[in-house]
Amino acid sequence: MNKVMFFAHLRDAVGEESVSVDLTGKTVAEAKAILSEQHGINLETVMTAVNEEFAGDDDVLSDGDVVAFIPPVSGG
């Protein structure tokens, strides 16, 4: 199983800070497609972090990986 975290407008849209989904063996791009579909959110311009490090669309997820969707940041 995988923990998937949402922030900023995505958290508002999903209504949860995180959800549990099994994404084992899926790529980041596939994970995005699945979560977009499930929650009706647009993840096209959103970066993805796996275990607190930015990941590419082709990276493959393992069981237990923590996935976070990172909208364009606006700190500072």
């Binding site: 975290m5 922030f7 900023a8 407008h9 958290r11 508002d12 647009n42 096209e44 311009t45 959103v46 972090a49 607190e52 490090e53 930015f54 976070a68 990172i70 909208p71 364009p72 940041v73 606006s74 700190g75 500072g76």
Partner: protein, 154 residues
């Protein structure tokens, strides 16, 4: 703990103290404060949210990048989260270096990198609404195509 996400108001002097070194002749600080007007719109207050554990790692990464690029540099960064009023401090960056040119450049580098890679988000609250702000560097399109009034050079 030179890199932190803070739920409490940031004390600038305590961040400066972290970078004092006998080899340094220059310390620069950048203090990002909440501005009342952005693109003519009056802000009431802001909410900052962070992916805290990752944000700390990314601040540490920026510190390492600076120390590799500017010899002898020492860096400390604190970013606030939660509700901030006008003139409240959102971020303090302190950089000490032997020579002053490096200190300005390294400090500037830090704020630009924060706006690129540190998972922190700002929600602006106005009298007539609120909105999560994104994409200050215009490197990607904001998901909703908004905000058109976002300020790239805050």
């Amino acid at each position: 703990m030179n890199f932190e996400i803070s739920k409490e108001p940031i004390d600038t002097q305590s961040i400066i103290d972290k970078v004092i070194q006998r080899e340094a002749g220059a310390i620069t600080t950048f203090i990002g404060t909440v501005r009342e007007l952005t693109a003519g719109k009056k802000t009431l207050y802001l909410i900052y949210e962070a992916y805290e554990s990752m944000a700390v790692k990314k601040l540490e990464q920026i510190g390492r990048e600076i120390e590799e690029r500017w010899t002898g540099a020492k860096v400390a960064i604190s970013h606030r989260v939660g509700k901030l009023e006008i003139t409240d401090i959102a971020v303090v960056i302190a950089v000490s270096t032997p020579h002053r040119a490096d200190s300005y450049e390294a400090n500037r580098y830090a704020i630009e990198r924060i706006k690129e890679i540190v998972p922190i988000w700002k929600k602006e609250h106005w009298e007539d609404g609120e909105e999560w702000i994104g994409n200050q560097l215009e490197t990607v399109a904001y998901p909703t195509g908004k905000p058109e009034e976002s300020d790239l050079d805050e």
